[in-house]
Symmetry: C3
């Protein structure tokens, strides 16, 4: 058995002077509360505080970072207990699943998943040996036993890990019952929602027209007119704000925006509601609706997030058998300069709007995003996202975006995860990487030390609270 020990200098530069600066910076932000403005945790955890079922259902079955890598090396999703769409059986023994994971743990070397998991094992569960085939049972037993104790229920973990506020993400048809339950429970943890209207804004989504009709019905508005549909958004945004939301989120295929005339959008709405919908009409409708969302954000103060550019469910067989979000999403090349112009022409100079941009195409960091954010008052840059939420990904973002956008057009860190236990591990990684970057700037005399201390705090805590109005 090999020891598991998180080194106190992990992720800091090896060069001693730079490392010393990174250490000093990190000491001042290590214990700051966690602000998690965007993610996909399940509000039921916080509403009902039930124990997590077992190690595999907590850490493997729902984590697409984990099972995509195992699958790439020949482990079948069935063997990992990922449920099928048709209910055909997959592995049901959580210990067997855990053993398969443990036997392949070497596959994660060099990946952020490995560092997050090791953090969880060491810090959350207090394990001091490395995961492998030889320690699989020990791990399973320790974690399983812990999960049965009150200290490992969702609310206790929330508090133990210093989460000041966390946002979940709900669709426009969500009744927000779980969020209501959280508030009604009297528990003091701050869990808020975020408005993600894709199912009623993207005519390419299966069931779009039915979604819109249900959505308008929920809001007491008339789905038969575009004006009614817009009012339904306004009402549901208000509902979400009442459940704490300060932001909307938009997961479109592209960053395309458009501003159609009144007659044109009304006709387009009628057309996409009666289907079939062409690719071009779907893009136009989404694009116009982003502009409407920006307009509403100016009116109601909700911060707008745009997460474009993913080819969803690329693997046809996995989609057919297991459904969406099963590790088969692949980034697409991005374009923001032309795409956002219609929106920016209308609202880009309005200080009441905050539009936070994310991308999976790192090429646009220095070519498009930093120049846009370093100019338009309404724009801010989200942190490296998804595949790029990693040490090298963070370093590339800082190196490519900072010189043109500056630090103050950035919004700190998002963990963007459904893996609740990884949240403190992800913030730990982000804070260390930011301190490492700042330390390098100081060591190369590109930044003064007192400024680096201010910026370390800003990147860990202040900027995210300001940008998301938290």
């Amino acid at each position: 058995m090999k020891p598991l020990k998180l080194h106190t200098d992990r992720l800091f530069p090896a060069e001693p002077r730079t490392r010393d600066i990174a250490r000093a910076l990190h000491a001042t932000v290590r214990d700051l509360p966690i602000v998690s403005p965007h993610g996909h945790t399940d509000p039921r955890w916080f509403a009902y505080d039930d124990p997590f079922p077992n190690p595999s259902e907590l850490l493997i079955v729902p984590d697409h970072y984990v099972f995509r890598m195992l699958m790439s090396q020949g482990v079948k999703l069935e063997e990992l207990g990922v449920p099928t769409r048709d209910g055909s059986p997959t592995e049901t023994d959580p210990r067997a699943i855990w053993h398969r994971f443990a036997a392949h743990y070497h596959l994660f070397r060099g990946t952020p998943s490995r560092m997050w998991l090791d953090w969880v094992f060491a810090e959350t569960f207090g394990i001091d040996v490395r995961l492998g085939a030889d320690t699989a049972d020990h791990y399973y037993d320790v974690i399983d036993a812990a999960l049965k104790t009150p200290a490992f229920r969702p609310r206790a973990l929330f508090e133990r890990h210093g989460i000041e506020v966390i946002a979940t993400t709900e669709g426009p048809l969500d009744p927000l019952d779980h969020h209501r339950a959280i508030r009604a429970s009297g528990w003091g943890g701050r869990v808020i929602t975020a408005y993600r209207p894709d199912p009623v804004m993207d005519p390419a989504v299966r069931g779009f027209a039915d979604n819109v009709r249900a959505f308008c019905a929920m809001a007491g508005e008339d789905a038969g007119s575009f004006a009614g549909y817009l009012r339904a958004h306004e009402r549901r945004r208000a509902d979400f704000r009442a459940a704490g939301a300060t932001s909307t989120d938009h997961g479109h295929p592209t960053a395309f925006t458009a501003h159609l005339g009144k007659a044109e959008i009304e006709a387009l709405y009628a057309s996409v509601m009666s289907g079939p919908v062409s690719d071009r009409d779907a893009e136009l409708f989404r694009g116009h609706m982003l502009v409407e969302m920006a307009r509403m954000s100016i009116e109601d103060g909700m911060v707008m997030q745009l997460h474009p550019g993913v080819h969803r469910s690329h693997n046809a067989a996995v989609l057919a058998r297991f459904g969406r979000d099963k590790g088969g999403d692949i980034p697409a090349a991005g374009e923001f300069v032309q795409a956002l112009k219609p929106l920016l022409d209308l609202y880009g100079n309005d200080p009441r709007l905050t539009l936070i941009l994310f991308t999976l195409d790192e090429d646009v960091y220095s070519r498009e995003l930093a120049p846009l954010a370093g100019h338009y008052p309404a724009l801010r840059l989200g942190p490296p996202w998804w595949f790029h939420d990693s040490p090298e990904g963070m370093r590339r973002f800082r190196e490519r975006a900072t010189e043109t956008a500056g630090f103050y057009n950035m919004v700190g860190f998002n963990d963007d995860t459904r893996a609740f236990l990884s949240i403190p591990a992800r913030h730990d990684m982000a804070r260390r990487m930011d301190c490492a970057w700042l330390a390098r700037l100081v060591a190369e005399h590109r930044l003064e030390e007192d400024e680096a201390f201010e910026l370390a705090r800003a990147l860990s805590y202040d900027l995210v609270k300001q940008a998301y109005k938290l």
Copy 2:
């Protein structure tokens, strides 16, 4: 008040052995004269040697790097005294402008503007405290007083900063009077022009046909025929050479080139002169004219520069109210391999042609530009441009282009600035970054130390003089 002190090791790697090599290299190039082969300083400064008006009009109002960042964080261009197109009033009190700038100076942390400005404050004006709200008046008073003295007039600064030669950029309709005045003045500073014919080569420019008519009239040629138009270029190029020019510069939307047949280009010329002009015809005309420019360069020896790929004036409201060049230019994705083929098929192997390529799309460094420059005798790579004229931008360029293009297909540094005082600061940054890069190669035993000394000098001085024939 916090001290302002430029560290002698700034921008050098922190690792001690590498830093020592960088120091040694830098000591041999630090005091070499400045050769500035491409930029946008105003020849009137050198022709008439009038004092600069005040700190804000010198350092803030004309510097789009500065006001774009302030604007991105909510400071209005009106508050910074940027003049409007319609003459509607903006801030006129330079001290008030300076205070706004000083109060937001933290926004520039991590940007090259911050390092350039600090250099100017410390080296040019001798200020030893950091800029901020608390020191704004001190700064204003020191700089304003200095500007009233002979030592801070343009020619004195030119000499003090060791400028051996500087090129301005003039349009094809410029009478070059200021350059004549410089030569007539008897002053020994070498200020030359460069030929930037975009207004008469790009049919998409407003007023194109009028420009061409005026241009042909200046040259005594007939605008009614393409042959006359070409001869006008030849004559005006000769005028520019008489004003010292050794280069032309082309700021096209793309790097597209084309070689049309005689009848085809004559018909296209007639068409773009009588307007309206389609996007395709404008691109074809620009593309063909780049080939004509290459042909003329082979004949008259002028070095050709291509600066493609900028979406100009992206911000519609800023364009309408303040005009062009107000910080709203955004890079565009670039393509050179297909685009340049027609030109290269004709002249790419001709050693008499030097075509220097620039880009704002860093993706093409390793994929397109370095492979092209490492093959075609006519091609050279310009340094990192505009948004990428920064420490990280320079590092990326060296890392991505050197291994395939080699050092000798590069042309040293361009400051490309209209901010006269920043010129020595920019060359200082470039020389330090080049020494840092060379030091790393030496420290990793990828280059011998004696070669690094030769290359440090080449990158700072020799290559630019050779490439630009200065």
Copy 3:
């Protein structure tokens, strides 16, 4: 004369702790045998073991890395003895060619060619002074004398450099006589072939239909039907396997794949065989045939390599006078996510398929290739290719691909060269760069030291053997 000495720490990080780790890692892989699964050496060398003719014909005339750089700085290919297509004379004096090369050796500073050549000079030929005009004759004499000795014949060099196995690449019309001769010779060196069917799979290739007819005739199949053509592939693949091949290789313009219906592909086959061929039909045919190749790979176990995205013979004048492969190939932007979907929909989840992807477009490392390889069981990532087979290129690949693809979806190193003497130099560079990367991960506590030792061996030896079934 300056000394030539390969530093034992070359390519290792300068930071002492990291360098020490790199040294320790490297000591364990330095002497591992060389596995060269993909390249372009000439099987005649190993079949007949004739001496290499002279220094210039060995090291300059055939090396496009060398002559492209010399050409870019004005040395004519004629002056370097590159043969013309029409037989018109070029330089025939190998010593004169060598002198030209030596006089321009400074052009290679900072390029991988310089490091490879110095390795060959120092390690293979034992030269201890640096190449330059002053040492050109000494070099020529030493190398020329060595080449006349048995120790410098191909087989002796093969053995001396520890090559365990090397793959050449042959076209589908190759009778494989030289490979038969190698086996018949009784020499123990393992030299295998690889199946590169581009001339009979790409209808855009000159002579395609004639190639296909000859190909089917070789295989005893009927070129008149698509079924016969497919069977000819199956037979020739078997012939290649009999000559040791474990892989196929495909050098298509793009990564496009397609799966046409039976009637459609039969009609397309008839059409491309009768010509003329549209660009679209050529792309469709290539795309469909990649899918057929994948199907055959599943059946016969051959590993599939895809090397897409090169604009071949960009320089029209060089192509006309000297032919293909003369340094004028330029990378093209790549796209894999859409392009590979048809193939992956059919076979991407089949563990019997190994499809190794290469690219010259580094942008796709983190955006496309690593996400694809970190998901699909059939996909693996080839090492940095051609222009990116360099220290910085390797570093970028590791930094951008590892976090998402993991180490185990990579296949170690390919030298991919026709420059036989550079093979050990290239593997030396790759091993050093991998150890440098692993050392950084260890020094930053992102990987445990025992894991780094396993990975150093995996990247140098184990992964390539597994992936290529060697």
